[in-house]
Structures are given as C-alpha cells and as structure tokens.
Homo-oligomer: 318 residues x 2
C-alpha cells in the first residue's frame, strides 16, 4: 500500500533542511545541505525537491503537499521571495511557491521563518495548548511570529525592530534603538566589542585572538564566569529585551511567549530566568506570571516543523 | 410589515449611548443618558434596554440582536465586566451579557470599547477597505484595538501601556514610562502642569484660574498660539506617541492606523501631521507611507457603531 507523506523545506542563508513526515507531523526522514550562495535559487530548490522525492521513494510513499519556511520578506500573494537580507541576492523576487508547485505537482504553502517557527512550536513544541502565542527568535537577527487562535496574524510585521532605547544606537534598518540592533547575537557582540575598544580590561580578551571574534556566545560564557564587562553587557541585554518583549506582551496579551534562535538555545535559563524577572518588574497592567516565557522545544528545527504545519494546511486546502 | 432592527449599547464612565439600526448598520434612531454613578449597573442597563425597546416600537419594528461596547477589562467567556478603572465600583463582575440577553431575549455580543471602536471604524468609518487595522483612542486614557482580516485579535491586550520612555514617569498601572501615562489627555495635562509648577512663565497660566484646571485641550490651544511651554509639551507628546505607535506599526505592519478619542478629535491635523512625520523618521524597516495614519471618521461614535457591528455578528451567529 502506498504511503502518503507531507514535506517541509526550511530555507536559510547557510543551509536548507528538508523533511518528510506522516500527515500528523511525525518526521519519517530528513536531510540538509548548504545553501548554494554562488548558484541560482532554482538549483538549490531542485536539490531540495530531489531530496524530498528520494526520501519519499526510499520510504515507499509519495508526497501530498509541501510547506516552505523561508527568510523574509516574502510576497505572500505571489509566493515570491522579495529581498531577504540574509539570503544571496540571486534569490530576489524568485517565485518560490510556483517553482516547487510546478516541480512536484502538489499544493505548496509558504511563510517566513519566524511565522513558521511559531506554528512549529505551537503544534509540535513548547506552544502546545497555547493558541495566542508569540514566538521570538534571537539569533543573528531578531524575528517575531504572532499567532492568534492558532493562526499566523500580522505576518508582514518586523517585530525585531520595536524601539527599546529611544534615540539609541543606529540599527542596520536605519532606525535608532531597535531591539534587533541591540539584542540580537550580532548586537550583543558589538556592544561587548565597543566596551573593549574603550579600553576596559576583561576576561573576554583572553578568550579570543582578536576582539572582532567575540560573539554572543563568548559574552555569555564570560558572564557565566563572572567577568564584569560581560556581566554588564548581558544584564543590559536582558533589560533591553524586557522592554521590547514586555511591550509586545502588553499589546497582545498572548497566552505564552516562546524564545528560540541560537542565542536562546545557547544560553537557556541563563537568559530566560533574569528576563522573566525583568519583564515582571516592568509590566504591571497584565499578569505576566499567567503568560509563561518558555524556551523553544524544537531548537533549530522550529521553522522546519512549521513548514510541516504549512504542508498540512496545503493538504487540507485541496 | 414588521421591521427588524439591530441595536447597539456603548457604556462609558460618564454616559451610555444606545442606537437602533438597519441590519446593514444605518442608524435609525439613537439616544443617550448619563451613567448612574450612584445606582446599580442593573438600573442603568434596564434604562438602556427600555430606551432601545421604545425606539424600536416608535419605528414599528423589533430587535433582532444587541451589541455592547463597554470599558474593559472584560471577562469574554462569562460576558462580565471585571474591574473597569473608568466605571463605578458597583459594575465590578457584573454579568453584562446575560443581563441584557435575559431582558430582551435576543443574542448579545460584547467587546471592550477600543476593540469595538476598531470594528466600528473598520465597517462604517475611516477603516473601510482595511482589514488589518489598528485603532488607537487617545482620551482620558489610551486604548488600542487590533484587527486582522477584519476580526478583533489579541483582545485582552492593553496597548496603551507599551513603554515609550524606559525608566520614565510612573504610570497609574504601576509601571514606568507607559504611553498612556505620558500621552493620554491626563498625561499631557500633568506634564504641562509640572512645567508650570517648576516656575516657568507661560500663556497657559492666563488661560485657567488654577494650574490644576489645565487640560490637554488647554495645552493644544496654547501650543497653537505659539506658547513655548505648551509647544514643548505638545512636541514631546508627538515624539513619545511616535515611539509607541511606531513600534506597534513595526510589530504588526497594519494596513492603516486610525486615531480616535477626545484628544485626537480636538487636535486633528495639529496632532496627526507632526505625528506622521515623527513616525516616518523613526520607522525604517517597513514602509509607513504605505500605511496611512488616519483620524477616526465617527468621532465619539466609533464604539457605538462597533456595538452595531457586534450586533450584526450576534445576528449571524443565531
């Protein structure tokens, strides 16, 4: 008897992950390969489609539908990638959805990676049971996915760029004091580097060959070891995140907030515990205790699982 | 032939407005009366119900459904008022929805006033054509209603309390630097009064018998006349609102933002024009030009019209 599989594709700037799963979302098989920076998106996607077809054949089944999570911004009407800052330029305006639809002849759903990760955590991860959910990824950048009644809403938003320090440091987007500019992995590293360039002594200097090699992870490790500069930078990160996440919580009153991304995955409770306390100090109008701040349960796979949720939706749409 | 009317009730701290309308929302007749601060909510609501019944009889018709807009917070499951800060204490935990349902024996829908005003503007006012909409009322307090695809989402949120000045002045909610604490009508008045208490000369002093009588309207009038203190306070209001509204726009990327409430109605473009410019300066990641900042078209009737939208919904639910 032929089996039927749903398929997910998670397209990032460095790698593309694909998986096939049962229609209930249990992953059967998966693989990944580096994003071809030099080549065309068509070549990378052909590779993804062939990988999915091969996985399905190996498991004696066929694909019913595909979900795609991709770094945004996206044009949802057309199913195109627009001008993703974290993707090669050749991806600009590429018709992602129709390309995969034409290759596989099955329905395809598309969403950006933060929205997909929110869906993935909601159905298969830390968000189970919470229909009104905010997912925030803290990695190279900061992305926010918002669910209401289990559905993605406001999916064109760029919540990483809420203001957390009015008049503060210039962000890559051109505005000042954005949460992403200050609290993303690159923002944390840059603020630590600035402290060292100003001549302060720190254990951080012994941990890298050059100041430019300091990452959020280096700052976290040094803060854990009690280094003063790193502790200050980490504490400021927590306070700034509490301003941004606190305001998002006040505005939306979600049932839960899930934090994912590389910085969160690395730091875990070393970030979450002081962040919960800072948000509780800053937010009074709604009960934050009733709205848990949770670590993503699917780690780097939140968006891939979200792609599988999108595939289920594409399947139901047919 | 009997006519059928939908009915709306807008319950505020100072007055209760009621209207009957055709099922398409055209208001047939309306009336209002002061909220009975001394009496019980049951007496006020009985008055509202009797007024609606009388209006329907006068126009030879009967009521099909009722929508109620009420100052929050509300318990949506139970249809109760909780502990509205702008309502008499006797309203606490009053079972609003079931009381009206039992009196009139028709289906009743309930929402808070900011959400209802968002719906009212969306269907009958400045929001026509915009499904993804944010409505912000700036009056005694600041309330935010959020629509996605034309539906109210995140309706437990208290968007007036997003942080616009980290570490700033204490708000009535107990947190610091909230948009409502600084930029509501009372916040504007209080910041102007603080400037005068510090001894600065100002035309404001000639406009009132006592500094405590200064309102947002006084500040607006003095700023229009070029007074230095009032101009500063007004300009700071604009910048603080731009931080809060800008962050809400970045997070949600709504198709439009509608500003209502007494302060907006009074000031009009004297508030909106500099606010648009300040938001455009502060927000870079999404196009704010493509997302118009509009004045509410229904003025003080946004929430009453929203109650009529709720009545249509109650009607369709049956």
């Amino acid at each position: 008897m032929t089996q039927y599989f749903i398929a997910g594709i998670d397209i990032g700037g460095t790698k593309i992950a694909v998986a096939i799963a049962s229609p209930a979302g249990a992953v059967i098989a998966r693989t990944s390969f580096p994003t071809d920076i030099e080549g065309s998106p068509g070549e990378s996607l052909t590779q993804a489609v062939e990988a999915l077809t091969a996985l399905a054949e190996t498991h004696q089944g066929q694909l019913t539908s595909v979900g795609i999570a991709c770094a945004g911004p996206l044009d949802f009407e057309l199913g195109n990638v627009l001008s993703p800052p974290n993707m090669p330029r050749s991806w600009q305006n590429f018709p992602l959805r129709s390309f995969v639809e034409n290759k596989l002849n099955v329905p395809v759903e598309l969403d950006n990676d933060a929205n997909a990760a929110a869906l993935g955590e909601r159905i298969y991860g830390a968000g189970r049971g919470y229909g009104d959910l905010v997912y925030i990824t803290i990695s190279t950048g900061i992305g926010v996915g918002i669910l209401s009644g289990g559905k993605v809403v406001h999916r064109l938003g760029e919540g990483g760029h809420v203001t957390v320090q009015p008049g503060g440091e210039l962000c890559g987007c051109g505005a000042r004091g954005c949460m992403e500019g200050l609290c993303s992995g690159s923002g944390i590293a840059r603020r630590a580097q600035a402290q060292l360039h100003s001549g302060r002594a720190s254990r951080l200097l012994e941990m890298v060959a050059d100041v430019s090699q300091i990452t959020a992870r280096t700052v976290e490790d040094a803060a854990r070891a009690g280094d003063e500069v790193a502790t200050e930078v980490w504490g400021e990160t927590v306070e700034l995140l509490a301003i941004g996440i606190g305001s998002i919580m006040v505005l939306l009153a979600p049932q839960a907030v899930i934090l994912g991304g590389g910085v969160t995955a690395g730091a875990g409770e070393f970030l979450l515990a002081p962040l919960r306390a800072a948000i509780a100090r800053r937010v009074q109008i709604i009960s934050v205790e009733a709205r848990p701040l949770l670590q993503a349960a699917l780690g780097g796979d939140s968006a891939l699982h979200g792609a599988l949720v999108l595939a289920v939706r594409a399947l139901l749409r047919t």
